[in-house]
Structures are given as C-alpha cells and as structure tokens.
Amino acid sequence: MTDLQTRSGGPQGRAALRVVRRRRGLTASDVGVLVLTAFVCVAIAFPFVWMVLTSFFPTDELFDPTRLFPRPERATLANYALLLSGSNFATYMVNSAIVSVGSMLASVVISSLSGYAFSRYRFRGRQVVMVAILAVQLFPFVILITPMYAFFSELGLLNTRLGLVIAYVAISLPFASYLMLGFFETVPRSLDEAARVDGCGVIGTLFRVVLPVAWPGIATVGINTFILAWEEYLFAKVLNTDESMKTVQVGLANFFGEFTTRWDLVMAASVLASLPTIILFAVAQRRLVSGLAVGGVKE
C-alpha cells in the first residue's frame, strides 16, 4: 500500500520514487520483467495497431503483394470520409451512447440494491435466489429472442432506446449483482452500523455511506455494463429496425456484410466503433484502478 501513497502522493511521492530508483538501480530480474512486459505489450497491441494503421490507406496500397507495410505518403482520410458521409454512422453512435450510458447507470443502481441484500442480509431463499440468478446465464440467448420480441411488442418498447436499456440491464444484472456482492463484502459492516446509529435508513446507508466506499465495484460494474451495451448486437438488431433508432453494432454488421474484405473500409469502421469504449476507459481508468487499490486496503 506504499505504492498507493506514492501514486497519490503528488510531487513529493514522485521525488521519493526518483530517490528510490537511483538508490536501488535495476537488477537483472527487473530488466527481464521489463523486456517481457514490452514483448507482451507489442504482441497484444499489434492487431489493434495494424487495424488503426491500415484504416488510413487505400485498398490497392494494402493489397499490393510486394509491399508489407503501406507507404506513409499514401495515407488518407478517405475511408473515414466515405464512412461518415455514406451512412448514418453518426446517428448510430449517438443511439449507442445514450443506450450504453443509460444501461450503465441503471445497472449500477439496481445491482447495488441486490448485491447489498445478498451481502448484508441472511434471509430465507437467499441461496435459491443466488443460484437462480446465476442459472439464467445458462440459457443461450438466441433461442429466447422470439418470445422476447413478442413481449417487447406488447409493451410498446420496439424501436425505442428504453427497450434496449431494459434488455441490457437485465443481461448485465447476474454478473453485476455478484460483483457488487463481492465488493460490499470488502466494506466493513461497522460502517453500516455507524450510519444506522446516525439515523440513516437502508437506502441512505447504502447510497450515502457504503457505495462511496465501494467505488471499484461501481467502476467495474459500470464499465462492464457500458461495454456490454455498446457491443450487443442481437437485441439491437431485432428490436430496433427504424433507421433513427439503430445502434453502432447493427450499422457495423451491415457495413461488414456489404464490404466484407474491403479491409481499408472495414478497419475504419472498426476504429470508429471502438473509439467510445476506449475514451471511456481512458477517462475512468484512474478511478477504476485506484479504486481497485482502495478496495485492497480493506480490513
């Protein structure tokens, strides 16, 4: 946990680090770790880097069998221009963003309630409900889509963003509930009792006292749900057929279907479709990871 202090310790911490490094130097195993890490990072990043790189080149440059890497002077934004002008990609992105953020918020709130119930209460049926929640994961989605469509149709939720939010929250709930349960377990119960003594109700205790301490849980559940909602394809395709309500994944699938191995265009679309999650992660990363560290301080 000294790491945590140095991380958040600002300039002093950084100065201290510099001292430490100078004093210790690098051992052989340190160098080994650095080399291994570098190798792993290159290996993992490569498919992604190649995707981004090739999205900026015309197809003939990429398909040239005599050339491994495209020439920098042939770089162009034409793929992106074609993509954004020729389709409703911008609309899809907005829809996906609304649906994903909505699902993220709702999932955090609802899974907090259930996770808290599992963590703090011993009640009749607890085991059964916990197993049942896990069990719904066991059904392959594809086969359930027909009755779900009929149901959403009854409720007037077709071609709405709300319909997708409901579906995604439900999909995220089993895992999110278990995660929140795990994170609440790391929060000392004494905190709850103190809050009760101060006159907080159950909801007050949960949202004002316990949740703020369980940041890593919120970040993990939130990001997980966002990614799930951003990537989901089956429900989005079946429930929302109106052009103004389609999501990125549906647009992407159509695009892939149309351009299959026009790799330049496909890669440009891929980059655009990955961007929001990358941005979200870049923003939330500090919180997520430092939150994880805080979660570790418990007890």
Partner: protein, 308 residues
C-alpha cells in the same frame, strides 16, 4: 442490533422484508426477460414449430426433437469441439495467461520506471474492441491472400502459397482460440489484478523473511489468496465460453466442412437455417442442463472450499 430490537415487532417485520424489497427490481427484470422465455423454451423443445409461426402455434411432438438432436451425426463433433476448444482451451489459456499478466503488471519495477499505466492500458486494450471488430481485425491479419502474416511468410519464402488460416485443418482452431483469447483475456487480467491488490504486503514480507523466493511466495501466498476470485471468474468464463457463438460463427461459420461446428452454431443453424425452432430449443436445453450440472458440481467443490 439494539436499533432493530427497540421499536418492536412491526420494525422487525419491516427489516425482515427489506432484503426482498432490495432484490425485487433484479428478480422482476430477470423473471420477465429470462425466466418466462426460458419456460417458453421448454415448450418449444416439445413442439414442431418454425420461426415464421405465431407465438404459441405448433404441433406437439413429445421428445422427438431431442431424439433427432441426439441422432444427428454432427452432435458428437459439436459437443466435443465445444468442450475441448471453447470451454477448456480458451478458459485454461485465459486463466494461466491472466494470472501471469496480472502478476507481471504487479511487479514493482514497472511502477518505478513509470510504465505501469501504459502497460496496463495496452493489456486491457482488446477489451475495448467489440468482438465483431476483433474478428475483423484478426481475419484481416490472417487473410489467406493479403494478410500481413501470409505476406511475411511468402516474402521470406517459408511457404509457396498463402495459408488460408480459417480454412486449414491445422490452423483453424488455434486461430479461433487466438481471437477469442485476445479479446476476452483483459477481463480476466483486471479481475486478478484487483484480487492481487487485496493481498497485504505484510504477507509477502513475512514470507521473504522466512527466505521464500518469488516462485515460493507465488505458490504459497498469491495463489491461495486468489483462489476465491479464480474460482468465480473460472465459472463465469466457462459458462460464457460454452455458450459462445460469435467467434466461431464470424470466423468460420463452422467450417471448413463441419470441422469447427460447436453446439451454439448447431443450435443457431437448426433453429434459423433449417427453420426448426423446436430442434434448436432442444439443443439449448441440453446445453443448459449440461452447464447446470457443471455449475452445481463446481459450486459444491471448488467454490465452497474457497468460500468458507
């Protein structure tokens, strides 16, 4: 405790109701979206019905759908592929690599050299790439004609003709597993990292005073401490991999021939290509049943021991 006791009976009753109230939104949503359709799934499995029929229409056929699934010569192959390649290979690889990467990223030298943030971001990068995109990126990399891997192999003269990685018996499963693991590994890494953070530094210090080297302390401290999280993550990713459809479907569609058919693709084609919803539902039920048994055994052995 005193708080609950003081106001008497009605408060106690209210307190007893609290967990149910807290659980209500979750239970209601899951019931409506999954439990009800799942019951319908059972109904489907006992009827002959096409995807074009209205809800509730179909002829009762008893267990004929199950019989035809079990009699299908494709089923044993799909089942074996599902278990060996999806539920075992991708899971084992992810657990081992995930643990290795989490431990690697935990090493103090990365922090000292201020490369931890970069390394962590790169390791988690594939998680931010939608599976459809991950498949596209890998198909492009491994393209039989214009893919970079084949271009390199061809230019170095290692091979006379490009290898169609996703249509070659030797390479097709390793290729699918590579895409799968590449995209799904980060989640395992991040979960293990969280678990590692929770191990107190004192435990390691005590061990190093006792003269334990890195490997020993990994074996005696890291692994036992991570055991519960490994158990939970292991269960979730095994179920996910067992039911997974998208990686095989988008890379090979079950080919070459029927070589990479898995249960989920067989379910999909039975239901929506052969127009036989009941047959698909029967496969789905068999899959669920299998996973249910697996999960029960798993919970009773692995999880319980880690829990208490």
């Amino acid at each position: 405790m005193t708080l609950a006791a003081a106001p008497g009976r009605s408060a106690r009753r209210r307190r007893a109701a609290t967990p149910y109230v807290l659980l209500a939104p979750t239970v209601v949503m899951l019931t409506i979206l999954f439990a009800v359709p799942a019951v319908y799934n059972v109904w489907l499995a006992l009827h002959k019905v096409t995807p074009y029929d209205a809800l509730g229409e179909g002829d009762y056929v008893g267990v004929a759908n199950f019989e035809s699934v079990l009699a299908n010569p494709l089923t044993p192959l799909s089942a074996r592929n599902t278990v060996v390649w999806l539920a075992f290979a991708t899971v084992a690889l992810r657990l081992v690599l995930g643990l290795g990467l989490a431990v690697l990223l935990q090493h103090s030298v990365l922090r000292r050299m201020r490369v931890l943030g970069v390394a962590r971001t790169i390791v988690l990068l594939p998680w931010m790439v939608p599976p459809t995109v991950a498949v596209a990126a890998w198909k492009w990399l491994l393209d039989g004609r214009t893919g970079l891997v084949n271009k390199i192999l061809l230019q170095t003269g290692a091979i006379p003709e490009g290898i169609p990685f996703f249509a070659d018996l030797t390479w097709v499963w390793p290729s699918i597993v590579a895409v799968f693991v590449w995209r799904e590994l980060p989640f395992v890494v991040i979960s293990f990292m969280a678990g590692l953070q929770a191990i107190s530094a004192e435990q390691y210090e005590a061990a190093s005073i006792d003269g334990a080297d890195g490997w020993r302390s990994f074996w005696h401290i890291t692994l036992p401490n991570l055991r519960p999280i490994i158990a939970v993550i292991g269960l979730f990713i095994t179920i996910g991999a067992f039911n997974n459809f998208i990686y095989v479907w988008l890379t090979t569609g079950g080919g070459p021939g029927t070589f990479t058919q898995v249960l989920a693709t067989q379910l999909f084609t039975t239901a929506f290509v052969d127009n036989h919803l009941g047959g698909g539902a029967a496969i789905g039920l068999l899959m669920s049943g299998f996973m249910l048994v697996f999960a029960a055994v798993y919970l009773l052995t692995v999880l319980r021991r880690g829990d208490d």
